[in-house]
């Protein structure tokens, strides 16, 4: 007979806690979830509903005091030509930035997911994340210099003889300006650059989950590369593309710094919110403006779900 015990002795608090959690599995769940739920529920959703409530108030046009009674008057103001203009401009910019990011991000994400191994994978992550380590403002101002009339882009265009072509393009009313850094094209370029990592990473994660044998199966069954892309890669990567586009789209919708520094000072939603709650002191209209991106994102997600973007999750 052996004298080794069947039950090991308890070794203090750690063992007692482990035993308690083992007997009551829900307790551990509660302990783990309580702080984030408090944060999300109270601090985040609380302030969000305060904002929502604010948007149903209105401002007294003479005294500038917020009248705390529920009305849709502020929302009616949103559809006034000048405000609608801001919304449509922001929406168009966000859509263009998202599409451009997706197109540029795809080959990078595809390469990283399919071919990069070991050290090259590390180089990929570093390359994508590195810009996120430096200040957003520094990057935006750096781009202002790059895109300026005396900047490297103009210099390069002049060098290869494309200067006049670029100058002609900038004369275009719709997106032109006195230089790239003061044109909507410039705003667009900087938006695409700044939000690119948020598109690449979820896309790469989605592509990583597509097994190589699935692409081989497609080719094996007679599909061309283009058909494989359309019928297999794209649908399977769609959740990642949608996740990425949620970032690029919503971040562009809400940004108020890039349009201030780069572009022709045309107003965007973020900028409008910033100005209405600050200098203009019109908190209800600022809140109503802030609701717009939320509603747009909800519609966007509903469409994405309808398209089956989350089927392959």
């Amino acid at each position: 007979m052996t004298s080794r015990p069947a039950i090991l002795p308890e070794r203090g608090l750690a063992d007692r806690l482990t035993a308690t959690f083992w007997r009551h599995p829900r307790l551990l769940l509660a302990v783990l979830l309580a702080p984030p739920l408090l944060w999300l529920g109270v601090v985040y959703l609380g302030s969000l509903s305060a904002l929502l409530l604010q948007s149903f108030f209105s401002i007294d046009e003479f005294s500038g005091v917020v009248k705390q009674e529920l009305t849709l008057k502020t929302y009616a103001e949103l559809v006034r030509a000048q405000n609608l203009d801001i919304i449509l401009r922001t929406l168009l910019m966000a859509a263009l930035v998202t599409v451009a990011s997706a197109i540029i991000a795809f080959p990078i994400a595809y390469y990283a997911a399919r071919f990069a191994r070991g050290r090259w994978k590390a180089v990929f992550y570093l390359g994508v994340m590195l810009p996120l380590w430096s200040s957003y403002l520094v990057k935006v101002y750096a781009w202002k210099l790059i895109l300026a009339r005396e900047g490297i882009v103009t210099w390069f265009a002049d060098h290869i003889g494309a200067g006049p072509l670029m100058a002609r393009a900038l004369e275009e009313q719709w997106f032109g300006g006195s230089s790239l850094s003061t044109s909507p094209v410039g705003t667009f370029i900087v938006f695409v650059y700044i939000w690119m990592p948020y598109m690449i990473l979820p896309m790469q994660a989605a592509l990583e989950r597509v097994p190589g044998s699935m692409l081989e199966a497609s080719a094996d069954l007679g599909a061309t590369r283009a058909q494989t892309f359309r019928t297999v890669i794209f649908p399977l990567a769609l959740p990642g593309i949608v996740a990425g586009s949620i970032f690029t789209f919503s971040l562009t919708l809400g940004d108020y710094i890039i349009p201030q520094i780069i572009g022709n000072s045309a107003r965007f939603i973020g900028l409008a919110v910033y100005q209405f709650q600050g200098t203009a002191g019109n908190l209800p209209l600022a809140a109503a403006f802030a609701v717009v991106p939320i509603v747009i994102m909800l519609i966007y997600l509903a469409i994405a779900k309808r398209m089956g973007a989350f089927d392959a999750l």
């Binding site: 097994p211 044998s213 699935m214 081989e216 199966a217 497609s218 080719a219 094996d220 069954l221 007679g222 599909a223 061309t224 058909q227 019928t231 297999v232 649908p235 399977l236 089956g308 089927d311 392959a312």
Partner: protein, 331 residues
Amino acid sequence: MTAAVEFQSVSRHFGSTRAVDGVDLTIAEGAFFAMLGPSGSGKTTCLRLISGFEKPTGGVIRIFGQDVSDVPPNRRNVNTVFQDYALFPHMTVRDNVAYGLMVKGVDRRVRLERAEEMLALVKLPGFGDRRPGQLSGGQRQRVALARALVNEPRVLLLDEPLGALDLKLREAMQDELKALQKRLGITFVFVTHDQHEALSMADSLAVFNEGRIAQIGTPEDIYVRPQTRFVADFVGSSNVLPPEVTRTFGGPSAWASLRPEALRVVVPDGVALSGTVTALRYLGAGSRVTVALGGAEVAALVPSGQAVPTVGATVGLAFDPAALHVMGGEG
């Protein structure tokens, strides 16, 4: 008759690794051909060379007489059942099966009809609306089979097709695959590391070892007349006898193989061969008895119902001299 698949000193090297090294191979049209070997022996690479997912670094591959060196996978009339099935999770079973016709531009109504026929062929009628995720492993395999057959390929490649199935299902599928192949008359080439599977299903098989073919022949050739020690050892856990032991068994001074089932355990009186039992393994249909004699260990199969000696007992061994197969090839 042209061969369905022909390899002429084909090699596939990955850097310094010789996955496939100078393989010559001819697979007859309508054959059920197996490529057998341990993992890393080059059998799967050979399969991928036929489908076009690997390019040979040397040699020529012909499919029905045509050199396919410059033909990408999508233009080879060869289809594959993948080891992990590789069904498209975002499509219904019907769309999965119809995929090959869809990419060829076959009319929607026609291709869905064909998909339904193929599903009936693999005994999954009415499963068209489901998603691959809702099927069991065996059902998924049938879908993969239907999807590969819908294009009416001239050669069907199967990569460890039964590897993920449990024993019972595997045996049922073996019979079914065999019947299907007979019925369709398509050349089947399948890769497996399971000797029993290869022996029971194939008309002829190639045994792979370290990127080369160790032996090609009918299952009986391979099992009864192995040419190398590797083949004898790998196919059916045979006794591989070194030259001096072969002499003890009454053979010439050369390497030889002797199947455990050819050896009988007898009373040790008056027999030339006797030894001590060192291990016993119960196999269900019989027991495998390991006997130490003259510095070597040989295994004998005692059919169930007969007396099994105990470990440590002295036993005699008897065998039919015709069962002792002397191997010509070295290695």
